[in-house]
Structures are given as structure tokens and as C-alpha cells.
């Protein structure tokens, strides 16, 4: 059964090829169904393989398809490594992807490039599977780049808008900065081990010199920072919301952005062998990202932006987990996050869809009445992310915090504060969108006014506002609708329900009460066991921690309730411009790139033109100039020519006579 492994990526690949060649002819909606079927088939295969994996020794199975390339001592296969970690990843990736494919059939309805969308999605799933299944760093890198490219295609899917195109480009290039780290990390690995195959080098990690290990991990971590949107490379992720919402859910929340975490977990034996300060760096970056992104999320008004920053924040949590040695916790949170964040993204997509492409939360409200299914599923997701027991997010986040406390109180406290902020801003979002007064009835007029304002002041044209308008095809499809928001079609709500269900119960995967309940921990034991920090919490400690988390979550929700439902505090006192503008990090980097960075580039281009090319042309000019000057010697006077002969003769005679010896 395990040998069906190859089928898992093969199905999406087949779907991709089919849609690439015939997509236009197949058309809507069959292209969508083909894409969905390919991924769903892949998920089912994964289940079968999963079943088969139980029987494998150490739950590990590897398969080599063919040599990819080799030269000298360097050799890479196209081969798959199936172990508990990759199995877990495969399952949730294919599962969620299948749901999001299904959802997209409804969401992308009427788009002129409907088949193309599924082509990209299938390619993405294939790449993501290569990433997690690859049995070596280079194959992982193939997937890593592949998902990056798909992300690029999908963010700029509606490329007619410059902002979308820019966002896609920004994502790709920012990721490339990380890729540099990944590549260098791969090189060091190869230098150190002579191989890049996980099963060959990971067991030898303990024999590695500390600095080497540190270097490898640090470089790979740079890669992970890019892909998983950590400070300072997180700037692309909020912009990436320019893509269609299913893309945001699939790529920029559930799967691709967690690739960095996966990578870190994958190389955990090397982290264990590296310098002691390195986990601190990872944890520090993680917790800082978590906190910073949470503060930014507080002040966002775009429904998807809030979720985007929240994703950044949660990814920070996962890196915190990696840094403090809680690898299984990181994976645990990754899975629960995938469920609830995908659920909420799709929910927001449903809202946007129902609101006729309105993304500004200030024009929403009381949507629970018109969009009940969306509202309920969204609320489940909210409770999960806010950390309210017994929803999944509570357990996974608490798991991370427990590891953090084990490492350092500071990390724990910041983590707690972030959790509070998370509860706060998510509650804010839920209250603004689904509760309170319905502000959408007036939103049409407001939109008109806004459009006028928009035209006068182009400066305010930020990506958020641009993304708000999104695709025109969609408008056409809904032309003539009433002003009333509506519930989405079934292809969209079914995935929501499924995801909400898992968002609620996924905590069961890894309940901290007894070792028997820690299914995930035990499942991942062969992969991360050696490097994992061993927590041995007493019942009291556990209870106190769980209680603290619960209290924090509830406090966060309460504050939000006070501010946004009861209006006891002016929201503007909390939504500081500093937060709204993302601590000015993005704008600073953009300004730098557009300003000083560009100046530098221009300077080099100028150097090329003036110095390098100038030297070449200068030589030509100098030759010509010299020749022109020399030409005047050829004056036309016979006497002058005779003088030249005479002088030449005298010089030669002088030279010759200088050799005469008069002895």
C-alpha cells in the first residue's frame, strides 16, 4: 500500500498537465472538478498510504523514482521519504487542498481564467507535495521554489491590476532572499556530509562540528524566514492577499507558509548539534514576529489583512515552538492553524463573495443573519484561534507556551501577551463583521463616495484598497443582484463546514493530559524524539498553564467586546497609526528599495555606462583623436617630409654610433 506513494504527487501533476494542455477546452466548471478530483484522489491515496505506513518499520518508507542529476560526488534523486513527519504533512496538505479546490469551484465561478486557476492550484499541490515528500534537500528545494512560483502566479492571478502584479513579484523576490539562505545551507550540508539526502546525513548530525551545524541551520533558517514570513521577510505576506481568497487560504495560511516550519522540524537533529544561541535566535525571531504581527492586526480594517497578519503571528508561534524545542508542538499548531485559518479565510472569502467584493470590515456588520453558515463556521475558527477551550487552537497554542515556559519566562510572557492580542483582534474582527449593526446597507453609497475620494487622492491607493475592488469578472456574474448580501453556494459552504469541524476537534490529536492522548507526539517521536525538549509537567503545572491561557483568551475577547460591541473605549485609541502602518517596516523597506537601493543600482548601471563602456569608447575616441593629431604631421610640405626623413636618419645614426667602441 505504501508503494502507492508516488501516486500522491502524480495525481495533481496529471491534473496540472491535463488542465495546462486542455484547460481552455474543458472550461468551467469541469476544469474545476478535474482539479478537485486530482487532489481529492491524492488525499485518498494518502490515507491508504497512511494505513500502509503503520506496518512499516519505524513508520518510515522511502522510494526512489530515478536519478535527477549527479556530477562528481554530488548526486540527487527524485525520491520520496515517507516518515511520520512527511505523512502528517501530506495528509493535511492534500486534505485541506482538496477542500479548497472544491470551494474554489464556487468562488471562481464566472472568472474568465477559471481553468487556469485550477491549473495553478494543481501545480501548487504537486510542488507542495514534492516539498514535504522529497528525500533530499534539493528536491525539497524544488518544491520550495515550485510553491513560490505558484504563489507568484496566483497572487498576480488578476494581473490586470498593477497592484496584484506587484504583490506577486514582491512575494517571489522576498522569498528568493530566503532561497539564498536555503541554497547556501544546502551547500554547507553537502560540504559537511557529502550528501544532501535526509536519511543519510541527519543520523550523522551529532558528529558534526558545532559551528558547521550552526551554519547549516542558520542558513536554512534564513530560507524558512522567507517562506514562512518571519521578521524581516514577512512583508510579502500581507500583500499576497491580493490573490483570490482560496489562494490566501491554501497557500498563504494553511500550507506553503508553513514550509519553513516543516524544514526546521525536518533538520531538528542538526539544530540539536548547533550552538546553543541558535535556538534562542529562532525562538526570538518567532516570538517577535508573533507579537509584532499581532499588534499590526489590531489596526487593520481589511478583512483579509487581519487574517494575513494573524497568519504571520501564528507562524511566529510555530517558530517559537521550534526554537524552544517543541517540534511536535510546532507541527501540532501548524495542523490546527491550517484548519482554523483556512476555515476563516474561506469564511472571509464567503463574506467577500456575499458582499460583492467588499473587503472593508467597517462596512460590514450583522452578517450572521444573512450568512448563517459562514458566520457559524467563522466563529468556530475564531474561538479556535483565540484559544478558547476546547477548540483546537487552545491546545496547540498552550502546548507551545508550555515549551516556551520551560525555556524562558520572558518568551512565555511575550507569548501570553500575543495570545491576548490574538484573542482581541480576532474578536474585533468577528464583532465588526458578524455582529453589531449592519453597515452594508449604506456601504454602496459609501463606496461611491470612496471612489470619488479615491480618484482625487491617489496617494492612498494602497494595496489593501486596490485588493478591495478585485475582479471584474466577478462583478459581471453578480450584476443585477440586489444590495443584500447572500449566503454562498454549497460548493463553498461544505468546505467551510468540514474545516470548522476539524478546527473544533483537532485538539484531540494531541491532548496534554496523558501520554496516551498525545497521539501526535508519539507519532512524530521517531523523527523529532531525539531533539525534542522533554516536558514532564505535573498535573498542577498543567492545570495552571491551561487556566492561564484560558483566562488570557477570555480577557482578550472581553476587551474587544467592550470596545467594539459596547463602545466603552474609542477604538481609535487602540488602533494606533503605528500598528495600522505595520510599524512602518514595510514602507521603510519599500522606501529603501525604491530610494537608496534603486539609487545604488542606478549608480552601478551608470558605472557600467560611463566607466566600463566609456573606457571602451574612450579608447576608440583616444585612438581617433591621437590619429587626428598625428595627421597634422602629414602637412603636405615636401620640406617637412624631408625633415622627417632627416631626423629619422639622424636618430638611427645616433643609435648606431652609440654602439661604436672607440677603443
Amino acid at each position: 500500500m505504501v508503494s502507492l506513494l508516488w501516486l500522491i504527487p502524480a495525481l495533481p501533476l496529471a491534473g496540472f498537465l491535463l488542465l495546462l494542455l486542455l484547460g481552455k477546452r474543458i472550461g468551467e466548471p469541469y476544469a474545476g472538478w478535474i482539479g478537485t478530483a486530482a487532489v481529492a484522489g491524492s488525499f485518498l491515496t494518502a490515507l491508504v498510504v497512511f494505513a500502509g505506513l503503520w506496518n512499516e518499520p519505524e513508520h518510515t518508507y522511502s522510494m526512489k523514482l530515478f536519478d535527477w542529476f549527479s556530477a562528481g560526488h554530488f548526486s540527487v534523486d527524485i525520491g520520496f521519504l515517507l516518515d511520520p513527519l512527511s505523512m502528517a504533512m501530506i495528509l493535511f496538505v492534500t486534505g485541506i487542498a482538496a477542500l479548497i479546490h472544491l470551494y474554489s469551484i464556487g468562488y471562481m465561478h464566472g472568472d474568465s481564467r477559471f481553468p487556469r486557476f485550477f491549473t495553478y492550484l494543481n501545480l501548487f499541490v504537486f510542488s507542495m507535495l514534492m516539498l514535504v515528500m522529497g528525500d533530499n534537500l534539493v528536491l525539497t528545494f524544488l518544491g520550495w521554489e515550485g510553491v513560490g512560483a505558484c504563489s507568484y502566479f496566483l497572487i498576480s492571478f488578476w494581473f490586470e491590476k498593477d497592484a496584484n502584479a506587484s504583490a506577486g513579484k514582491k512575494a517571489f523576490i522576498t522569498n528568493r532572499v530566503g532561497d539564498w539562505g536555503f541554497m547556501v545551507g544546502t551547500f554547507v550540508t553537502f560540504l559537511a556530509f557529502g550528501t544532501v539526502k535526509y536519511v543519510e546525513f541527519l543520523p550523522k548530525a551529532s558528529g558534526l562540528a558545532q559551528t558547521t551545524a550552526t551554519l547549516i541551520v542558520f542558513m536554512l533558517f534564513i530560507g524558512a524566514m522567507g517562506k514562512s514570513a518571519q521578521i524581516p521577510l514577512f512583508i510579502w505576506l500581507p500583500d499576497a492577499m491580493a490573490g483570490p481568497t482560496p489562494v490566501s487560504a491554501l497557500i498563504h495560511a494553511a500550507t506553503m507558509v508553513t514550509a519553513g516550519v516543516y524544514l526546521m522540524v525536518r533538520v531538528n537533529p542538526i539544530i540539536a548539534a548547533s550552538a546553543s544561541w541558535l535556538p534562542w535566535v529562532i525562538a526570538g525571531v518567532g516570538v517577535a514576529t508573533a507579537f509584532l504581527a499581532a499588534t499590526i492586526a489590531i489596526a487593520q480594517t481589511d478583512i483579509k489583512k487581519v487574517l494575513a497578519y494573524s497568519t504571520v503571528s501564528q507562524l511566529g508561534f510555530m517558530f517559537l515552538a521550534v526554537g524552544v524545542g517543541g517540534y511536535s508542538a510546532a507541527i501540532f499548531h501548524m495542523i490546527t492553524h491550517a484548519f482554523f485559518k483556512a476555515c476563516m479565510f474561506l469564511g472571509s472569502g464567503s463574506v467577500i463573495h456575499g458582499m460583492h467584493d467588499e473587503q472593508d470590515m467597517r462596512r460590514m456588520g450583522a452578517l450572521r443573519k444573512v450568512m448563517p453558515i459562514t458566520a457559524i463556521t467563522f466563529i468556530i475558527g475564531w474561538l479556535a484561534i483565540a484559544g478558547v477551550p476546547p477548540f483546537s487552537g487552545f491546545w496547540s497554542k498552550d502546548d507551545i507556551l508550555a515549551y516556551a515556559l520551560h525555556k524562558s519566562v520572558v518568551l512565555y510572557v511575550i507569548g501570553l501577551v500575543t495570545a491576548l492580542l490574538t484573542a482581541f483582534y480576532m474578536s474585533r474582527q468577528v464583532f465588526m463583521v458578524f455582529f453589531g449593526e449592519a453597515r452594508w446597507s449604506e456601504s454602496q453609497e459609501a463606496e461611491l463616495a470612496n471612489k470619488l475620494a479615491h480618484e482625487t487622492s491617489h496617494e492612498s491607493a494602497e494595496v489593501a484598497a486596490d485588493a478591495a475592488a478585485t475582479h471584474d469578472a466577478h462583478d459581471d456574474a453578480h450584476a443585477g443582484h440586489g444590495l443584500v448580501p447572500h449566503e454562498s453556494p454549497r460548493t463553498m459552504t461544505i468546505p467551510l463546514i468540514v474545516l470548522a469541524f476539524f478546527a473544533a476537534i483537532a485538539g484531540l490529536l494531541n491532548l496534554p493530559f496523558t501520554e496516551h492522548l498525545e497521539f501526535l507526539n508519539r507519532w512524530l517521536e521517531p523523527v523529532v524524539g531525539a531533539a525534542q525538549t522533554q516536558l514532564h509537567l505535573s498535573g498542577v503545572q498543567l492545570a495552571v498553564e491551561l487556566l492561564t491561557s484560558t483566562v488570557v483568551a477570555l480577557v482578550g475577547i472581553s476587551i474587544a467586546y467592550a470596545v467594539y460591541m459596547k463602545h466603552k473605549v474609542d477604538a481609535r485609541r487602540i488602533e494606533l497609526p503605528l500598528f495600522a502602518n505595520g510599524w512602518y517596516i514595510d514602507s521603510s523597506i519599500t522606501n529603501f528599495m525604491g530610494g537608496l537601493g534603486r539609487k545604488g543600482f542606478e549608480l552601478i548601471a551608470l558605472f557600467d555606462k560611463v566607466v566600463i563602456d566609456g573606457a571602451v569608447n574612450g579608447v576608440a575616441r583616444a585612438t581617433r583623436g591621437g590619429a587626428l593629431r598625428l595627421r597634422t604631421v602629414q602637412s603636405g610640405y615636401v620640406r617637412w617630409y624631408a625633415l622627417m626623413i632627416g631626423v629619422g636618419a639622424v636618430l638611427i645614426v645616433a643609435f648606431v654610433l652609440s654602439q661604436v667602441s672607440f677603443s
Partner: protein, 102 residues
């Protein structure tokens, strides 16, 4: 003949040669320029004769006849060219011949 006498002849011929050369450089009349060349050639003739005497070798003096023939031929050609030019451009001196330059 005193031992230094041949050297004096050589020096004289060198001086004549130099005079001829310098004359060619400073004069503009084509005729005078040709005469200067003749002077140079005759200076060489003197040298040949002197060497022939010094070496007690007849050929030095015989060569002079060859040179004189050649010099005569040159003069003929030179004069012909000058005449041809003078037809088109009377009173032209050497410095006027500047159509070709650069």
C-alpha cells in the same frame, strides 16, 4: 699625402653632404632643391674617391661614374617634372604643392 689628408676629404664631403641636405630642407625653389640633391650625390662621389684612394682600390673611383650617370638621369626626370608643373602652375614653389596632405 699626409696621413690626415684623407680624413679631411671625408670631412669635407660630409660637410658638403650636410649642406646639400640642409639646403633641401630650407629652400623652396624646386630647381634649387634638385641642385641640393646633386650636391649631396657629389659629396658622396668625393667620399668614394677618397676611400678609393685610401684603400688603394680602383673601384671607388669607378663607382663615381655610375653615380654620375644616375644623377644625370635623375636631374633629367626632375627637370621634366618641374617643367610639366610650371606649365600648369607658373612660379609655383615647393611649398605651394600642398594639394595632397593629411
Amino acid at each position: 699625402m699626409s696621413p690626415n689628408l684623407p680624413l679631411a676629404y671625408l670631412a669635407l664631403s660630409a660637410i658638403l653632404f650636410a649642406i646639400g641636405g640642409v639646403g633641401l630642407l630650407v629652400r623652396r625653389n624646386p630647381l634649387v632643391m634638385i641642385m641640393c640633391v646633386e650636391l649631396m650625390l657629389n659629396a658622396v662621389n668625393l667620399t668614394f674617391v677618397t676611400f678609393g684612394k685610401m684603400l688603394d682600390d680602383i673601384s671607388g673611383q669607378v663607382i663615381v661614374f655610375f653615380v654620375m650617370v644616375v644623377a644625370a638621369a635623375e636631374v633629367v626626370i626632375g627637370l621634366a617634372l618641374i617643367v610639366a608643373m610650371a606649365r600648369r602652375r607658373p612660379n609655383a614653389n615647393a611649398d605651394d604643392l600642398r594639394l595632397l596632405r593629411g
